[in-house]
């Protein structure tokens, strides 16, 4: 049974490959038919006359393959155009070349091979005639457009075809990724050559800034071009960029907005309650006192002190309730008396557990112990001008004038 299945699979595979060969014409044995067709144009009229198919009519095969003279063949010409980005057209090429037009075998046969030993045209033959003395992919940047249409015009190519494009050796140079490499090439008015393999969307993978270079704008738009993956984030984004992006983003937010949208900013700056480790690594909850006391970054840019810090500390039993007690900070015996330095150094940490009433127990001129909380840099007159209500919390309506 297993053998029968294997034979069946093999038979089906062979049949499929044969059908495929017949459909594409590649399986036609030109050599075997050499005596029947004195010229190539006998079958491929479209190669010498405009408006006619390049392929023979199936009925012409049936003149011999009628089941009597020869066995019947079921061949039909390809129904869809070949997936190609060549700008080649036999008739136009012959017309423009005039007397220099090559014979069919010049491209479709090896040098010195019999007339009907045909093969698909090799790019090297094109380069030879056009006096380009390099390998195909090493051709000068200005040469691509001579034989190829722009990617956006090669509408029959699929993303898989495009992803399979081989990169020219020049692209392997480490300097090519920089402005002095491909940037210089693009600026030298050879955008048409770049367009052979690339379209605007390809460039936007890196050049997504608000004002992309002019050479990119000259390219056509074609989303298929992203099938070729470009380099990711710019070099400046290396290291711990997430921690230090703020300064650059503040100076030139428009540059960021070329690639990033506000929702991405909100992902971190307005964090999701159910998010796992992301900006902060796993275990940060245990480490956060060290990062938060002397702010490693500005916590309040992303977290509300009341709605996040104090809310969580309240659940953990850390917030002061009722009469202020000194028991929690038990590593410093006289912490309550000498807490001033700790408080002025990290007031944001204090207010994550303590309400204003805790401090006003002692630091108020209205019934507290009248300990003056104002320290270095305090400008009483300025603060009173800006918002005297702040002063009334401790001083009532009798705000002292300095």
């Amino acid at each position: 049974m297993r053998h029968a299945t294997a034979v069946l699979v093999l038979a089906l595979s062979l049949a499929a490959s044969r059908l495929s060969a017949q459909g594409g014409g590649a399986g036609f044995d030109h050599e075997k038919h050499r005596a029947l067709f004195p010229t190539c144009a006998s079958c491929h009229v479209g190669a010498v006359a405009g408006g006619v198919s390049l392929w023979p009519e199936p009925v012409s095969c049936a003149a011999c393959h009628d089941g009597t003279i020869e066995k019947v063949v079921t061949w039909s010409p390809p129904r869809v155009p070949r997936r190609s980005n060549l700008r080649f057209d036999h008739v136009r090429h012959a017309t423009s070349a005039g007397t220099k037009a090559p014979a069919c075998v010049a491209c479709h046969a090896e040098a010195g091979a019999p007339r009907m030993a045909v093969r698909p045209a090799a790019p090297e033959r094109c380069l030879d005639c056009h006096a380009i003395r390099t390998a195909h992919l090493a051709a000068p940047d200005s040469a691509c457009a001579q034989c190829h249409v722009a990617l956006a015009q090669a509408t029959h190519l699929t993303r898989q075809d495009i992803a399979g494009f081989r990169a020219p050796p020049s692209h392997a140079d480490p300097r090519f990724a920089g402005a002095d490499g491909h940037g210089a090439v693009a600026r030298q008015a050879v955008a048409a050559s770049c367009a052979t393999c690339h379209a605007r969307e390809f460039c936007y993978q890196c050049h997504a800034g608000a004002t992309p270079p002019r050479a990119i704008a000259a390219l056509a738009s074609d989303p298929r071009s992203t099938a070729i993956a470009a380099r990711g984030a710019p070099a400046s984004h290396g290291g711990n960029f997430a921690d230090r992006h703020g300064t650059a983003a503040a100076a030139a937010g428009a540059r960021c907005s070329g690639c990033h949208v506000r929702t991405e900013c909100l992902d971190c700056h307005r964090p999701v309650a159910a998010a796992g480790p992301g900006y902060h690594p796993a275990g940060f909850l245990s480490r956060h006192p060290a990062a938060a006391y002397a702010r490693e970054t500005s916590c309040s840019d992303c977290h509300s002190v009341g709605g996040f810090c104090a809310a969580c500390h309240a659940q953990a039993g850390l917030v002061a309730t009722g009469v202020l007690r000194s028991g929690y900070h038990d590593a410093k015996r006289f912490f309550l008396v000498g807490h001033g330095q700790a408080a002025r150094q990290s007031l944001e940490s204090c207010v994550a557990c303590h309400a204003e009433r805790d401090c006003l127990t002692c630091h108020s001129a209205l019934g507290g112990r009248r300990f003056n909380p104002h320290g270095p840099g305090f400008d009483a007159n300025r603060m009173r001008r800006k918002n005297p209500e702040t002063c009334t919390a401790c001083h009532g309506t009798a705000i002292p004038v300095r």
């Binding site: 300064t247 100076a251 540059r255 929702t263 590593a331 944001e348 270095p376």
Partner: protein, 502 residues
């Protein structure tokens, strides 16, 4: 108010589909669930006469808790382990962009979250209130002008400022000049809620009765070699017309040579009359090396509806450096460090000695020895006032194709505190997996084990080992744009017609 705003946005969205006939839209639904737990402390007291002498000679409870007794008070207080709290937040974020209303350049954007804690009520912060509108605005964008109306967040030197109102940006791209302005009713800092929301006042503390009015101006110049920007923002209490805050910020980035940059900025608190935070850094970033050396100053900002600014918080000054080197094609090494010192707080007392300076450092590597494999490891240590920590972490990721990845991770951490006997030792290990089973669907799963031991000489030391589970699903819907734009940055993908409209 927030609920109504979300409902209004949803209704507007529905109306847009039906009446305005948006030609294109992109909707991204991101649902995350997490099962977490923690264990805090619970204050307790004991009569002075019931205390016993603890191992260290101090007073303690008979069951071994060290207690704190104030002179003359009949009771001593102490903190015993609190109950284990279990939270299971479930949050869905919807991010919607619509365009094609008949006027070129007009689009609508909304980002909203619906969240609920499936565990103990409100254990995990961020799910109250259940509906939150992060952004919901209509935008008109053309070459020289961008105008927005609705709930939005503006990002600047002065932070991420949310408000309900209008903003406009005018630009001359040829000269690289930009001017912007905005005004509206402000949201609270660090959250998409009005400052009047009960969720922001868990301590039953001072809280404004009305939302503040916020207005700001910005001016920027941008060129190939430099970017400059100045921002001004004021917030006013509409009830009294007094200031809530008034600040200016300056930012600059200069690129003197390929790969080199100098970036810095500073903000000045016009209400308090002092400089706030500032930083400057020289950076170098080429293909194999990324490095920076800089100085930083940090001072917190407090609104004037609180009294905290009057307590004169002092800034600290830091010097920092970081470097990442592609030592081999498959290996990147990194290191960073920061040293800081607080300004004199003028509160020194002989009874309590408080640390006034500190440092942070990290070394690590990332290696990709074979296709699909990534290994990352690092050691981090910080010492400073309030708390210190030291720990190592490592991850191994296998991602043979772009559509899925699996990561295992482990970490260890020591965390001594300065003001409390509670040296915590934590060990973490877990696994994460992520896959794109369909082109518009991504799912992720994570399971992490936390083993936390509070090393303390008395009975208050406890552990709260736990598993944390996370689940995530992202669904993307869309119409009217290119479907093959996966490789493009989000800003390009969300343009009408994908990148073609640029």
């Amino acid at each position: 108010m927030t609920t109504r705003a979300v409902l209004l946005a949803l209704l507007l969205g529905a109306g847009s589909n039906g009446q305005l006939k948006a030609q294109g839209y992109r909707l991204r639904l991101d649902t995350r669930a997490q099962a977490v737990g923690f264990r805090g402390v619970q204050i307790d007291s004991i009569a002075v006469g019931d205390t016993v002498s603890g191992p260290g000679g101090g007073p303690a409870t008979p069951d071994g808790f060290a207690v704190s007794c104030s002179g003359g008070a009949p009771f001593c207080t102490y903190f015993r382990p609190g109950p284990a709290r279990r939270g299971a937040p479930l949050v869905t974020t919807a991010d919607l962009t619509m365009w094609g209303f008949g006027v070129r350049g007009v689009s609508a954007h909304a980002t909203a979250r619906a969240g609920v804690d499936l565990g103990n009520a409100d254990v995990w912060p961020g799910t109250d209130p259940a509906l939150q509108l992060l952004a919901g605005y209509v935008e008109y964008a053309a070459e020289r002008v961008t105008a927005r109306a609705g709930r939005q967040t503006t990002f600047s030197r002065l932070g991420a400022t949310g408000f309900d109102g209008a903003s406009i940006t005018l630009r001359d791209g040829r000269r690289g000049i930009e001017a912007s302005g905005y005004a509206g009713w402000g949201l609270a800092r660090g959250v998409a809620l009005p400052i009047t929301s009960p969720a922001l006042n868990p301590l039953d503390d001072f809280q404004p009765r009305q939302r503040q009015l916020v207005a700001g101006l910005g001016a920027a110049w941008s060129a190939a070699v430099a970017d400059l920007r100045a921002d001004y923002m004021r917030e006013v209490d509409p009830r009294s017309n007094y200031f809530v805050s008034e600040r200016i910020g300056l930012s600059a980035a200069v690129r003197p040579a390929p790969g080199w940059s100098v970036a810095g900025g500073a903000d000045y608190d016009m209400a308090a009359g002092w400089w706030g935070s500032a930083e400057i850094a020289v950076g170098y970033a080429r293909r194999a090396v990324s490095a920076s050396l800089g100085a930083r100053r940090y001072r917190p900002h407090f609104d004037l509806w609180t009294i905290w600014g009057a307590f004169s918080p002092v800034p600290y000054h830091a010097t920092q450096a970081q470097v990442a080197v592609q030592a081999l094609p498959q290996v990147q090494l990194r290191a960073r460090g920061e040293w800081y010192r607080f300004e004199n707080s003028e509160t020194a007392t002989p009874l309590v000695d408080v640390v006034g300076s500190g440092w942070r450092g990290e070394i690590g590597f990332t290696a990709r020895p074979a296709a699909g494999w990534t290994f990352d490891g690092g050691y981090e240590r910080e010492y400073g006032p309030g708390a210190s920590s030291a720990g190592a972490s490592a991850t191994a990721t296998y991602s043979p194709v772009a559509t899925w990845r699996v990561m295992v991770h482990a970490a260890t951490l020591d965390r001594p505190l300065e003001f409390r006997y509670a040296e915590s030792v934590l060990q973490v290990y877990g696994i994460e997996a992520e896959a794109d089973p369909r082109p518009r669907l991504r799912v992720a799963f994570g399971a992490t084990r936390y083993v936390d031991d509070h090393r303390r000489p008395d009975a208050a030391g406890f552990d709260w080992g736990q598993w944390r589970l996370t689940l995530r699903a992202i669904l993307t819907f869309g119409r009217g744009g290119g479907d093959e734009l996966g490789g493009l940055p989000p800003a390009v993908r969300r343009m009408p017609g994908g990148g073609a409209a640029r």
